[in-house]
Amino acid sequence: MINRIIILLAGLAVATPVFAQTADPASPPAAAQKQAQMIRAAVLRVDRPGLLPISRLDLPPQDLGFAGARLAIDDNATTGRFMGQEFEALEVAATPETAEGEMEKLLAQGIPFVVVLADDAMTLRLTDLAKDRAIVLNAGARGDDLRGKDCRFNVLHAAPSHAMLADGLAQFLMWKKWPRWFLVKGSHPEDENLAEAYRRAARKFGAEIVEERTFEDTGGARRTDSGHVQVQQQMPVFTQRAPDYDVMITADEAGIFAAYMPYQTWDARLVAGSAGLVPRSWHPAFEAWGGVQFQNRFEKLANRSMRDEDYQTWLALRMIGEAATRAQTADPDKLKEFMLSDRFEVAGFKGQKLTMRDWDHQLRQPILLATGALVASVSPQDQYLHQSSALDTLGIDRPETECKF
């Protein structure tokens, strides 16, 4: 499936009669008079076949990620018409079997920027396929290895890492003085990676993991006619006889059990992590720092609320747009160089500028801590200080990185 979304200057002028009137030779945008620069990108989403999410509310929309791309291209194009720049993003949905072939096709077309929405392993494979032919912007994968021992110079991470998400939650829990954690992880490899991020966060911020359990994924259907009955029986049994704890931390990247936990634990305790209070890059209820108008613009365009994947894809393409505006070039190498320089900053509706870590190419960003309906807090918490940027209290800092380019 390939959809082209190209916003052309001509299209804009036709759609807005007042603007058309102003486009006489003497009047700006003067940039329109000269040959516009085209900045090309693609969004490659790899859909892994698997079980449906536990909750119907989490079913993935067809345009997941792509809707964020469309908003970013709109935003870039509006700015671009003052700068003589045009932007496009091809949209490609692939399966794990077709992903590499689709990537090859994009590379053959000479697309210099590919936003990838895939799991860790696939993101790494696609990055290595692109090598020096394209710059990959990771808008999906959150694994720390991708920013650590498996890091690559040709990838920029717009998605926050597990370590950033875990640290964001940990700071809040420590501020609440809830340092005793009961860690429950799933049985999939990515669950273990996420659990490791929580163990690391506990060490970093002084929390104690009083017990750790693994919730085995035994398969089975998600939908049953008896609904909640078994959950209400099984979850208390699974969580009983734990040492005294403040919060249950769920590490369930595969989405197998965490959503069942709130209100079903043996003890009357809060749940956080993959369910309950969830650290994430975006939330559709977020209103601060201009968020309202950003949500409005997205909802008008997509007829649904914004998901993390949409935000991260929007952010990845806005990084390209912002670099093109500031560096006033369409040259992919110069744009990448600019994005990695200390002159680069992008605004992402999170109350401060977002910049790039040069040691692992991770975009610094605040982490939202959201309940089902609201954002409860935003990390970093004020109490955690850092010598260069408070955002570097989240995730893997320069001295501890395993990344070597």
Partner: protein, 323 residues
């Protein structure tokens, strides 16, 4: 706003002999859906009046007879009798009006439509939309030159100050500034334009004649995280000697030397300070503090914060009646 200031100058000159003159101060409360009215002499609250949903930008006609409020979630501008606070009529504004600026003559009104990437121009007498001007993404800040010939719009995601001819409604220059420009303010003599950048943390000083940035003002406050320094509202004194910049969650107003554009000092005010307004005699500067639900009142001559007054929920904008 410029209209208010210019007309106020004449008034202030004529009335300096009567220092006890009280003006009404109008504060829009974004979350309270109302306007708090204060007395600029006693610094007491006179009353609180409903004004529609999510009021943000607020301004008043040069003759002081019409108070304009951007009712953002109602998608229109509501016009009130400033004396009685009764609604007189509404103006079409385009969707999600946030901030606006009145031509120095009192007509028309130039409105930033945040959701639609437009500036809407409305005739306040005939209530007709005169033009819709496509600008950058998320237009917000609106300024007008003292001679009324140039209107400035800042777009928060495009990060530009757009220079608009106030009669032909054509954009004739675009100046790239730092991230998330929120506000544009000319000096009274029109020789300088200040544009604040909330995320960039700077104020660009622009020469309106050449549309070149001549200086970028940066801020540094001991004990305050650099990320918390987020310039929004800007006001300049009539003589151009002092510039005040509201620094958002830094909870301070920066005082700047209008000649050198160097920061002189920082005044501690309430939490998340965004917009400001002078009394016509420039004795006081009122600031809206959105997170502490109050206004701080700065004595302009001594540069002291003399009082804070609780107002409604999340105060956003402020304007002082010229008479």
């Amino acid at each position: 706003m410029k209209a208010t200031l210019t007309s106020c100058l004449c008034l202030a000159l004529g009335l300096t002999a009567t220092p006890a003159l009280a003006n009404r101060v109008f504060v829009s409360n974004e979350k309270g859906n109302d306007v708090t009215v204060l007395d600029s002499n006693t610094l007491e609250v006179i009353g609180t009046y409903p004004v529609g949903t999510r009021p943000r930008g607020i301004t008043i006609s040069p003759d002081g007879k019409e108070l304009y409020v951007c009712a953002s979630d109602d998608d229109l501008v509501r016009v009130f009798n400033p004396e009685t606070m009764e609604e007189m009529h509404t103006l079409p504004s385009g969707p999600d009006p946030e901030l606006f600026v009145l031509h120095p003559s009192g007509n028309p009104l130039y409105i930033a439509n945040e959701d639609d990437n437009l500036v809407t121009v409305v005739d306040v007498k005939t209530h007709q939309v005169l033009a819709e001007i496509p600008v950058g993404v998320e237009p917000e800040g609106m300024g007008v030159s003292p001679d009324g010939k140039v209107v400035i719009n800042t777009s928060e995601t495009t990060n530009m100050a757009h220079f608009i001819n106030s009669e032909t409604f054509e954009i004739f220059a675009n100046v790239l500034v730092d991230s998330r420009p929120r506000f544009a303010q000319f000096t009274a003599d029109g020789s300088k334009l200040y544009v604040s950048a909330e995320i960039g943390g700077t104020v660009s000083v622009i020469d309106p004649a050449t549309q070149e940035i001549t200086k970028k003002i940066t801020f540094e406050i001991p004990g305050v995280l650099p990320e918390a320094i987020q310039p929004v509202g800007v006001r300049t004194t009539q003589d151009g000697k002092r510039v005040f910049v509201a620094l958002g969650p830094a909870n301070r107003v920066a005082v700047i030397d209008g000649e050198t554009d160097e920061v002189l000092e920082y005044l501690l005010v309430g939490q998340r300070v965004w917009q400001m307004a002078f009394t016509p005699d420039e004795k006081y500067l009122f600031t809206t503090n959105g997170n502490s639900n109050d206004v701080s009142i700065i004595d302009v001559a001594t540069l002291k914060v003399v009082k804070s007054v609780p107002v409604g929920q999340q105060p956003w904008g402020v304007v002082v009646a010229p008479n």
